[in-house]
């Protein structure tokens, strides 16, 4: 089923935000909508959006490639995006990340064997006073976790694995 059919109300709400002659503006919110479906954006969804907004598939794909919060590949159910940028690093984010790698048994950019957690290093998330911190990106959106310790993080990982294992 196409995006426009399945989420007709949401699509209508998004399109109403922009002048009708500039409906291409709806492409970013529609990409988020598509991503909420599978956790990544499928080629079919990109084609749906291209048709709906009268854009080429190439133009839609270019946006998915340009913006880091869009993904075109299936990876972990939860993307743990740890800020290792300058202000966080001045509060120990690099060591925090090393320790997370050791505890999860994966390197940055890898996914745990159960397919639950993908560990990523990201640039500033506007939480410099609350490092170490990360955000969890999933189908449900984005959640900040601030002033974190490795113990607290591993507890969260266990909780996510439990929830994530039940939700298909």
């Amino acid at each position: 089923m196409s995006l426009a059919t399945k989420y007709s109300r949401e699509v209508k709400r998004i399109l109403a935000k922009y002048p009708p002659e500039n409906k291409r503006s709806a492409v970013m919110p529609l990409l988020y909508l598509a991503q909420s479906e599978a956790g990544y954006i499928t080629r079919e969804a990109m084609q749906d959006i291209a048709d709906l907004l009268e854009m080429s598939l190439t133009d839609v794909g270019a946006l998915v490639g340009f913006y880091t919060l869009y993904h075109d590949k299936k990876e972990g159910k939860y993307r743990m995006q740890v800020c290792t940028d300058l202000p966080c690093a001045l509060r120990g984010a690099d060591r925090f990340m090393d320790s997370l790698c050791a505890n999860l048994g994966i390197q940055v950019g890898e996914t745990t064997p159960d397919g639950m957690i993908t560990l990523e290093a990201v640039t500033c998330l506007a939480a410099c006073d609350k490092a170490p911190m990360f955000q969890i990106q999933s189908r449900d959106g984005l959640e900040y976790h601030e002033n974190m310790t490795v113990d607290k993080t591993m507890e969260l990982v266990e909780a996510l694995k439990k929830v994530g294992g039940e939700v298909k």
Binding site: Y67, L69, Y70, R91, A102, L142, E143
Partner: protein, 432 residues
């Protein structure tokens, strides 16, 4: 002194409409819509001395007066992209004092004759955008946004628009491209957005903090506002303090507060009582200020910080102590800019790439002064050649770091900063 912007710290529950109204909420919007002409609002803001809080410090009222009245419709675009490393002030405003912010957006829209305003939030502010959408719906219901405001013919609609993880979209023309559904790449200026902005129409782009000042300026007058701060930099500013300080946080203070007051009185001093070696006053885009007593006693306003060979920018003050080599810092900033360069113009795309290779080479055993010289050379060759400020910003820390801290580019001990939360040691030793 009572807060002007971070009023939620004084008034619990100010994010709720009834509490906000009890504290004068929407009186300012009502006043401008029912009693003032748009140009009178612009004049009031000009007289207040308010300057843009996003980094450039351009006078807000003057920016509004550039909007081309021969071309319609007009738009307001709010820069809520807040992505500069070290900046986290707009987030606190929108999370905790959203109604004052939205009232400010509506006042700006009225002043420039815009019926629609788009708030461009970075994608990571997903929850904030959802909360703002709820507030906007509530305000439309209550008659403070939407059509026929206060029984007049004024219409103001506010819409949120989420970015998706691109620092460059904080550059105003890249932001406009992004709203138009394109990759966030800067346009060549001129024409400036005031003439050719969103959808090719005259557009004012203002920062969240800038606009949040407006209800208070309308309510209390421009003279009240000018009494705070310095003649060059009127009013209050939120300083995002981060780095090696004990109490990193947002501090709303009058312009002209000294670095010493910010770092020691408010920020609790430096971790482990180390001395401050350098300050980056505008996040990762900053020049380095080597710190001595004179610097610490310098007032933080646009003109005084410029005299120190830096810019105040968005006032995201990153404090660096004597345990951290500058070479390590620029390794971080260059990786950031390499990642965030949009790739449109050659000096920035290639320059950040080569600077990244060079800062990585500096980590090697056989690196020497020739590599440092080459890095400086690449940075200098980029300067004044980039299409937008991102490329220029990427060179600031490199050039001033090498020039002002040459000793930090000899062999350095490894940097190994312990995470602030102390439980890590145990876990690390168990697992490594």
């Amino acid at each position: 002194m009572a807060y002007v912007l971070l009023r939620h710290r004084d008034i619990p529950g100010i994010q709720k409409l009834d509490v906000y109204k009890k504290n004068g909420g929407f009186e300012a919007l009502k006043k401008v819509v029912t009693q003032m002409k748009p140009n009178e609002v612009t004049d009031l803001v000009k007289n207040s001395g308010l300057r843009g809080r996003g980094g450039a410090g351009f006078p807000t009222g003057m920016k509004w007066s550039f909007v081309d009245n021969k071309i319609w419709p007009h738009y307001v675009v709010v820069n809520a992209d807040e992505s500069e490393p070290g900046t986290f002030k707009d987030r606190e405003i929108m999370e905790n004092n959203p109604l004052q912010f939205l009232e400010g957006v509506a006042i700006a829209a009225y002043a420039v004759g815009a019926k629609a305003a788009y708030v461009y939030l970075r994608g990571e502010f997903w929850k904030i955008a959802a909360a703002l959408d709820d507030k906007i719906a509530e305000l439309e219901e209550a008659g403070y946004l939407g059509e026929k405001l206060f029984g007049t013919d004024t219409t103001v609609h506010i819409y949120t628009h989420l970015g998706a993880g691109a620092y460059i979209c904080g550059e105003e023309t890249a932001m406009l491209e992004s709203i138009e559904g394109k990759r966030g790449m800067p346009r060549i200026r001129p024409p400036f957005p005031a003439v050719y902005g969103l959808y090719g129409k005259p557009t004012v782009v203002n920062n969240v903090e800038t606009l949040t000042n407006l209800p208070m300026i309308v309510a209390n007058g421009s003279d009240w506002y000018k009494m705070m701060g310095t003649p060059d930099s009127a009013g209050v500013k939120i300083f995002s303090l981060s780095g090696r300080v004990r109490k990193p946080d947002n501090y709303e203070l009058p312009f002209g507060t000294t670095f010493r007051q910010l770092i020691y009185e408010h920020g609790g001093g430096v971790q482990e009582a180390r001395p401050v070696k350098a300050i980056m006053p505008a996040g990762a885009s900053s020049s380095f200020i080597p710190v001595d007593d004179t610097v610490l006693d310098t007032p933080m306003d646009y003109a005084s910080v410029r005299k120190l060979g830096a810019d105040l920018g968005s006032a995201s003050v990153i404090v660096i102590d004597d345990t951290v080599p500058i070479e390590w810092i620029i390794n971080k900033t260059i990786h950031f800019f390499k990642h965030e360069s949009c790739g449109k113009c050659t000096p920035c795309r290639e320059g950040t790439y080569w600077m990244m290779n060079l800062v990585e080479r500096l980590k090697r055993e056989d690196a020497g002064q020739a590599d440092v010289d080459l890095l400086l050379n690449v940075a200098r060759q980029m300067q004044n050649k980039c299409l937008c400020p991102l490329g220029e910003f990427s060179t600031m820390a490199v050039v001033t770091g090498i020039e002002r801290f040459p000793q930090d580019f000899k062999k350095q001990a490894d940097v190994n900063i312990e995470p602030i939360n102390a439980d890590l040691k145990k876990v690390v030793s168990q697992n490594l």
